[in-house]
Amino acid sequence: MTVKQLSIFLENRSGTMTKVLDILKETGVRIIASSIADTAEYGLFRVICTDPQKAYDELAEAGVAVALSDVFAIQLDNRPGQVADTIRRISDAEISITYMYSFLFHGKGLLVFRTDNTEEAREVIRRASLKSIAEKDLIDWE
């Protein structure tokens, strides 16, 4: 139901992102999706990739400030209102979305988000039978 996401602290100066990307390149993992939370002073580079643990180990080893967190990954059908319906289920349970982004996976929309209450959100998703993607699905995606 959840997948591992890398959260990488990047200083706002040129070259910091290249350093991280070069390490990922060396490691041989493939980036599936990414987003950046930008602030005036730094950025948080969020990455979903084919082997997050390996990528994490290599980045940490290289002294990059990186964290591994669990985020939900919900697969959507390609029709209007899908995002609204999914998010309503979460908000109806009075759970807040901390951040969210989306990407295409196997031609279908995938919604990635973190909430302020992972356990309850997990329960809501299970009860609503929302279609979620597991870690394994990403790694096996070759």
């Binding site: 959260s7 602290f9 200083e11 910091t16 940490a60 400030a65 990186v66 967190s69 951040y99």
Partner: protein, 436 residues
């Protein structure tokens, strides 16, 4: 263990009498051998006979770093060149370097004082001891070296640089003691971790750390990472080099070798001597030095003195940790700020590496202070995967800084290892106000 109980455990009366006798002798010596001091004393209508007891010291003029520069290179040297057997020089980043010549007797006193320090740290002839202060013009390397030889331990003159080789030797030779700067100790720990050398593979048990100010938090971190007990050693090349004062096992201040270096605390602004126990600028008079004796030399180091017998049995006066430098002191928006205050705050938060940089600037006629700190990978957990959480961490640091410094500081987060490490004395302040 005490190297020289006769001197380190003297009664206070005996010590004062000895200091008075030596002070009279040194004043007479400089009066006859150093024109600079003769003129100063004559201007003040003083002769060596006016200085009879140690309490008379307050009549004497001060000596400053500027006096040393103005009399470059040998103006303050009292001994004839033929008696000088070694010359050290301080890094002269601004103006002339400071030149200090030592006679054979000076080197002997230095070794003796250094042996007192090392013995107090528990170093014996059975130790293998590496000296990782820079060897060369800097007094740290050779100063510590002579002391280790005097104690009879095996000295490994590692010096700085080539840290990987040093780390390997620490493991392979079973080195038990090390002398270096506290920041180098952390750099060494980091290097070892990178090389995969663990605490269990090394036998380090004693560290003699000095040449730059450090804090209890930094001590904890070094001790934890290198698995040794860290002791403070203090010194300055103008007075001698490392060995001026040293901690004992009680680690409640550093015992001063006051039979050779007489300490006073003064108000750095009014130059008035302050009563024992009050914080101020540390001043030393060398009581036995032949090469370049100095009267009331202003160290610029800020601390206070502690009297009373210590649990270790020593009776010599102790100095507290240096809380800052009277010339390091930054005046920001009219408030006195010491880099050491920032250090104590940074070290109190495990999320940050024990390194920082202060950037002082002036924007629209208002002083600004930026504190740069490094995130630590080990503590950068999933909790920090949102800007809100990171900003909260920044706020915790800036709140603490404000309460300690009484002014607000902008916190800038840097990636791990983004702040440059120094292998010697750390440079922690960039003051851009002087460059505009």
């Amino acid at each position: 263990m005490i190297w020289n109980p006769n001197k380190e455990c003297m009664s206070r009366d005996e010590m004062s009498a000895l200091q008075g006798k030596r002070l009279h002798k040194i004043v007479k010596y400089v009066y006859h051998n150093v024109p600079f001091y003769r003129h100063k004393l004559q201007e003040m209508d003083l002769t060596p006979d006016d200085i009879r007891t140690i309490d008379d010291i307050v009549k004497l003029p001060f000596t400053t770093k500027q006096d040393l520069r103005d009399n470059y290179p040998f103006g303050l040297q009292a001994a004839p060149p033929s008696e000088i057997i070694r010359i050290h020089a301080s890094s002269g980043t601004t103006g002339n370097p400071t030149i200090v010549g030592y006679t054979r007797k000076d080197i002997g006193v230095w070794s003796e004082c250094m042996a007192r320090c090392l013995t107090s740290f528990g170093v014996t002839r059975d130790d293998i001891f590496s000296v990782a202060y820079g060897y060369g013009l800097f007094t740290g390397g050779l100063g510590a070296h002579n002391g280790v030889e005097m104690v009879g331990a095996s000295v490994v003159p590692a010096s700085t640089g080539n840290t990987e080789k040093h780390a390997r030797l620490i493991r392979d030779l079973g080195i038990t003691g090390i002398a270096c700067t506290p920041s180098y100790a952390l750099y060494l720990a980091e290097t070892m971790e990178k090389m995969g050398i663990t605490k269990n593979q090394i036998k380090l048990r004693v560290g003699a750390f000095g040449a730059e100010p450090w804090t209890e938090k930094m001590r904890d971190e070094i001790q934890q990472r290198l698995g040794l007990k860290g002791f403070n050693i203090y010194g300055l090349s103008e007075i001698m080099g490392p060995s001026v004062s040293y901690e004992c096992e009680h680690q409640n201040g550093s015992h001063i070798n006051e039979d050779h270096f007489y300490p006073e605390i003064i108000n750095p602004v009014t130059l008035e001597p302050l009563p024992k126990g009050q914080p101020g600028e540390l001043v030393f008079t060398t009581l036995t030095k032949e090469g370049m004796p100095l009267l009331r030399y202003r160290t610029r180091d800020l601390c206070s003195l502690m009297t009373g017998e210590c649990g270790c049995g020593r009776t010599n006066v102790r100095m507290t940790a240096i809380t800052g430098r009277s010339d390091d002191m930054l005046i920001i928006r009219g408030i006195n700020v010491f880099p050491s205050q920032v250090e104590s705050v940074v070290l109190s938060m495990k999320e940050f590496a024990p390194r920082y940089m202060l950037v002082v600037d002036r924007v629209n006629n208002l002083d600004t202070l930026e504190v740069q700190v490094e995130l630590r990978q080990e503590y950068f957990t999933a909790t920090f995967d949102t800007p809100a959480a990171i900003d909260e961490l920044k706020k915790r640091l800036s709140d603490k800084l404000r309460s300690v410094l009484s002014i607000s500081a902008k916190v800038s987060l840097k990636a791990p290892n983004a702040i440059e490490r120094s292998q010697g004395k750390s440079t922690r302040v960039i003051d851009l106000r002087n460059q505009k």
